[in-house]
């Protein structure tokens, strides 16, 4: 469950955003939407979503926000990362009907897991489109990579590229029956209201252990109980969680 990843390439893909491609000791399959708990920073691990898997290669895309991600962004080819995982439950790509119409909605640093998810959907022959929201033109990343997979719309809050506004401004809910989303909490809250039948949200939370033992990352549920983001999620049905 703990493995050493070896950095193969690192490149800056947007302002403050980094792509890190690492080699795994094996090439086992990983479901999209899961995460790795990386040992970087002073003490605790960092949960980083998996942006792509190809054979024994695994890709992480992340924004440099705190000490851990800054340290990750400084790694060089050949450096090793102590990784716990893959952890959590991802998007239920296997359960999507073959005639489903799927939209993937990503906001900022919520975009990465959707790339691997879209790849998997397309490999299964399922029709899907992506809507990717960013703050401004210079923070946009992976637009070309998504376009190579399928129809992709970019939105920016300041309108410097793509459609001006939030992702919801570009979302025509009547065209889809399934939605996969990952992004900041306000975005996910507004997506909970979108009239699409099957909605799955990948939520973010500060984590401790990453395996369900410490109760740091709980999220309340409508029935008065709670779920743990790390081990019950991070992907939940939209109606399952109170954000």
């Amino acid at each position: 469950m703990i493995q050493l990843l070896t950095v193969v390439t690192r490149r800056q893909i947007a302002s403050g955003a980094t792509e890190l491609i690492c080699r795994r000791p094996d090439a086992t399959a990983i479901e999209p939407g899961r995460f790795m708990h990386l040992r970087v920073g002073p003490l605790l691990r960092r949960p980083i979503s998996i942006a792509n898997v190809e054979g024994d290669l695994i890709t992480f895309l992340f924004k440099e926000i705190g000490q851990g991600t800054k340290e990750l962004a400084r790694l060089r080819a050949g450096d090793q990362i102590d990784a716990l995982g893959p952890l959590g439950n991802g998007f239920p790509v296997e359960h999507v009907a073959s005639d489903a119409k799927v939209v993937l909605v990503g906001g900022g640093i919520g975009v990465p897991p959707l790339y691997y998810t879209m790849r998997q959907l397309i490999e299964r022959g399922i029709a899907c489109e992506a809507i990717l929201g960013f703050d401004t033109a210079e923070s946009v990343f992976y637009e070309d990579e998504f376009r190579k997979l399928g129809p992709t719309t970019v939105t920016t809050i300041d309108g410097t590229t793509g459609i001006k506004g939030f992702v919801t401004a570009a979302l025509d809910s009547s065209r889809f029956d399934t939605l996969f989303a990952c992004g900041p909490e306000p975005m996910l809250r507004s997506i909970q209201q979108v009239p699409i039948k099957h909605k799955f949200l990948s939520i973010e939370n500060r984590m401790g252990c990453g395996i369900g033992a410490c109760f740091a990352c709980v999220c309340p549920t409508p029935d008065g109980h709670y779920v743990k983001t790390c081990s019950d999620g991070p992907v939940f049905r939209a109606e399952e969680v109170i954000l």
Binding site: G41, P42, L44, L84, R206, F215, A216, V218
Partner: protein, 309 residues
């Protein structure tokens, strides 16, 4: 001779390594990773009278070589633990220590009465030191008279030995230890977390939703070692030491300071295999240092402190 075996009131530990309460849940997650029967014991997550949700999130914040947490004693309640968690734990050949918390002395008594009757539970850890709940918890752990009174009441209803978990957030931990010893405590566990706060400079507000939390991890280890050293010389009841243990030498430090066994907390979050690794590493390190039995070094660091708080 088993070089790691430690016998304490109610507890026959095959080795001195015990995951600390609140850092190991009820063992279910870790049981998927390794055989829990190899552990000396398990201090399970705190039980309260009723189910508790705990505090809003964020509940954790990292700090230099440490972490703040403010979980707030989330647990399924004593009946839920007895019905759903203890049966699972009964399959392992390890000593279960039940952590008991409450808002009132009556709640502590009731939880102890119920959980101490269960044959899976070998000892009670009386939690008078949780900094993250509004009532109860720490308020019982900072006043020696209240701590002694609560210890007496819990001892009177407990069917198993009672270990009192001491808070470092006091002027004199020795005074606290002496008070609960006189009140009948069978042992001590120490230290709980140190109350702390971190502020997000982008918002100017505390990171934790609870504002304050308990600091754990390697940052607090020297504090723990000092307190164990002072308390162990003042009392005759055994101490289970804890506070920032990350590696095998940390275990030895605590025992040199006077502990008879050692609990491992935060390290489980960094490396979920840590307890297994510490147990495996102990004999080799003992060989290197010429230690025959683990308790041969207990208290060997004793001496008077130059300054005593």
């Amino acid at each position: 001779m088993n070089r790691l075996k430690v016998s304490l009131p109610g507890l026959n530990l095959k080795n001195p390594i015990i995951p600390a309460s609140g850092c190991f849940g009820f063992g279910e997650e870790f049981a998927k990773l390794y055989d829990l029967s190899m552990l000396g014991g398990i201090m399970i997550k705190a039980a309260t009278g009723e189910e508790r949700y705990g505090n809003p999130t964020p509940r954790v914040a990292e700090s230099g070589m440490g972490m703040l947490n403010a979980i707030g004693l989330q647990n399924p309640g004593v009946d839920g633990i007895i019905a759903h968690k203890l049966p699972f734990l009964s399959q392992f050949d390890t000593e279960i220590i039940a952590n008991v918390a409450g808002s009132t002395p009556e709640e502590y008594e009731e939880v102890t009465r119920r959980i101490s009757r269960n044959p899976v539970v070998k000892a009670i850890e009386l939690n008078i030191s949780c900094p993250n709940v509004k009532s109860g918890g720490l308020q019982f752990g900072t006043d020696p008279r209240m701590a002694a009174e609560l210890t007496r009441r819990v001892k009177a209803v407990s069917e198993k030995p009672v270990y009192v978990k001491l808070s470092p957030n006091v002027t004199s931990i020795v005074e606290m230890a002496e008070a609960v010893e006189q009140a009948g405590a069978d042992g001590l566990t120490m230290i709980n977390t140190l109350v702390g706060m971190r502020i997000d400079v982008r918002t100017g507000q505390p990171i934790l939703a609870n504002r304050i939390g308990g600091l754990s991890g390697p940052a607090i280890k020297p504090v723990a070692v000092r307190m164990i050293h002072d308390v162990a010389q003042a009392v005759t009841i055994p101490i289970i030491g804890m506070g920032g243990v990350m590696e095998v030498d940390d275990v030895l430090e605590m025992i040199y300071a006077g502990a008879s066994a050692v609990a491992v907390g935060t390290a489980n979050f960094v490396n979920p295999f840590i307890c297994q690794e510490l147990i495996a590493a102990l004999p080799k390190r003992m060989d290197e240092l010429g230690i025959e039995h683990i308790l041969d070094i207990r208290g060997k660091a004793y001496g008077a402190a130059l300054h005593r708080a």
